[in-house]
Symmetry: C2
Subunit: 345 residues, 2 copies
């Protein structure tokens, strides 16, 4: 007899919930299948069986180890859905299917797990994707930190969009767009860490950007590149974008939006906001003639209201990302050298 | 300047290897791209871009937390490749692409990581699959146990095989086949745990079974169901197979092969080998007229040499898996109730 509701379960995760036996089945039926409700998952077979209409697929994976698990603006579950949805969407693909795999510490609260799973389901619904296959492992107390989640994702990709993720079609004069203020996620996570005792109303920007991106792609066939500016922040994406390429780029620092609170925290703690992680911001390279229509499309979406052009692709200094600083100087943006802030995603 | 060889790297994993910045790039280029060498991964875009010819896809995910990380017969890497390849193959699919996502404890040895990655590459090559996308997170010392690996996988599935994973076409009289001795993996892991101090030459049966399965599928169009008997062991698969179905099954215990050493350890430690995990054994349900030709095909593969019929699908006691015990009794096989042996995969 299967338990099909979480109310009848133990209120803590037990090692047996990862056994592959009865307790695992109860957890799958009573929690995952309940919230991730869809016919593919319900089959509970070894692999989900999917039908794909387009001839190209995008496939991505990400493990999430964020600390703390719950933070203003989201939790590890929303992050796990949004992160993978965004990785597919910035490749130019339409995200369709996700897997979700949990590594849970023995003793983790069942209610907390339910909250995480519920918000994953809500986030997936909002983005129009289905969570179709999963796995749960439980490790003894002390052998992991509460909960880690892996999501992998599959999206359909049109042939004409296959060069977006590599940025092969970028050329001089193309405009660089960001869809709003940077650094919110990293600083919200930091503020939420108990030992800091920072009472801040900073919120993570964690969100699925696929619907906003679809609007932008509808407005122009000339989006040449997209990437979400997560770990390593905006600067790392810009540095990667030019690395080993025959073009450079030029950014105007004054056009980059940073919330006053993020700015303040960064100053106090010695962080450079250009390197702080985002979970709802993308860098887009667009043909200069289409920049205005893409901006209009982005701004028509709630998650892109504050989109601006922050710079452009240039001929000089190939392979380098230059920034015009507010104080009037110039500097090269490098990749993040060490670790600024561990476990922000 | 990217580091492109592991010899130039630190000999321990640092938090910065998970930063998304320079050290992450070094690790990806110098280790993952080096060993998982293929053009899709080399692009290092947000999502791997794949071309699929068949109209159905199989999609699966699994996280691996095995303790110890290295054990006789394999390591967490070989397990992570074989486990996901097998989940696709038992669905009737041809495994093609894997993702690999690492959660690594700060301070983990770079040489150990290289050994794991190398054996993943070897195992993938043997199975004919490509590792096309990945992710690395590093957590502070003490926040995970050495290394956890998630692999997700995509396979092509022919329409006519789409019912294999659900076993919809199973009928009375079908034969149940297992491809060799059971319990080897679970007992090898247990023996390898330091505190046990068991000097045993038991080896895990961890292996990719897709090529063996392909031979069997070539020998008969009437394979009705396959599942790998991992966590929960053979008994749990048999119990799941009949659960909520209109048929039962009947197993003859004397036809189940168990290595003498596994038998001995199980007796001493009080385990039931029917519930002990395997990583290279599948349960197959085949039309009775095709059982011999499938057995021949399985036995022609090194991983199926000892395949035998262990029982059959029956009309009576629907929903139940019965076993004729060696000592002359009968019992019902239930799912594993609690956790017999944590972290065997």
């Amino acid at each position: 007899m299967l338990i099909t509701d979480i109310a009848e379960m133990d209120n803590r995760i037990l090692l047996g919930h990862g056994s592959g036996g009865q307790l695992s089945h109860d957890l799958i039926s009573g929690l995952f299948v309940k919230y991730f409700d869809n016919p593919i998952l319900k089959d509970q077979t070894d692999s989900a069986i999917l039908k794909i209409d387009k001839d190209l697929l995008a496939f991505t994976t990400d493990s999430f180890v964020v600390d703390p698990v719950f933070f203003p603006g989201g939790n590890i579950g929303t992050l796990a859905v949004a992160g993978t949805v965004n990785d597919l969407a910035v490749s130019g693909a339409t995200p369709l299917y996700l897997s979700s795999s949990f590594i849970i510490e023995e003793g983790f609260g069942m209610k907390e797990l339910e909250t995480i799973v519920r918000s994953m389901a809500e986030e997936a619904k909002r983005a129009g994707v289905m969570i179709v296959t999963g796995d749960t492992k439980v490790v003894d107390k002390g052998k992991c930190d509460k909960i880690f989640i892996n999501t992998s994702g599959i999206g359909e990709l049109l042939k004409r969009h296959k060069n977006i993720s590599s940025g092969k079609e970028i050329k001089t004069g193309d405009k660089i767009i960001v869809n709003g203020s940077i650094g919110d996620h990293g600083m919200a996570i930091l503020a939420a860490r108990e030992f800091l005792n920072l009472s801040s109303d900073l919120k993570s920007d964690c969100a699925c950007l696929n619907l906003m991106i679809r609007k932008a792609m509808g407005a122009s066939p000339n989006i040449k590149f997209m990437r979400d500016a997560t770990r390593g922040g905006l600067a790392t994406v810009l540095s990667e974008l030019t690395s080993d390429r025959e073009f450079g780029l030029h950014i105007d620092e004054s056009s980059i939006q940073i919330n006053e609170k993020v700015k303040g925290m960064c100053e106090i703690l010695g962080f450079d906001p250009l390197y702080v992680a985002n979970e709802g911001k993308i860098v887009m390279v667009v043909d200069k003639d289409d920049a205005e229509s893409v901006l209009d499309a982005l701004r028509a979406d709630e998650l892109g209201r504050e989109s601006t052009v922050i710079g452009e692709i240039v001929d000089d200094h190939p392979g380098k990302a230059w920034i015009n600083t507010i104080i009037g100087g110039n500097r090269i943006l490098d990749m993040l050298a060490g670790e600024q802030l561990p476990r922000i995603c």
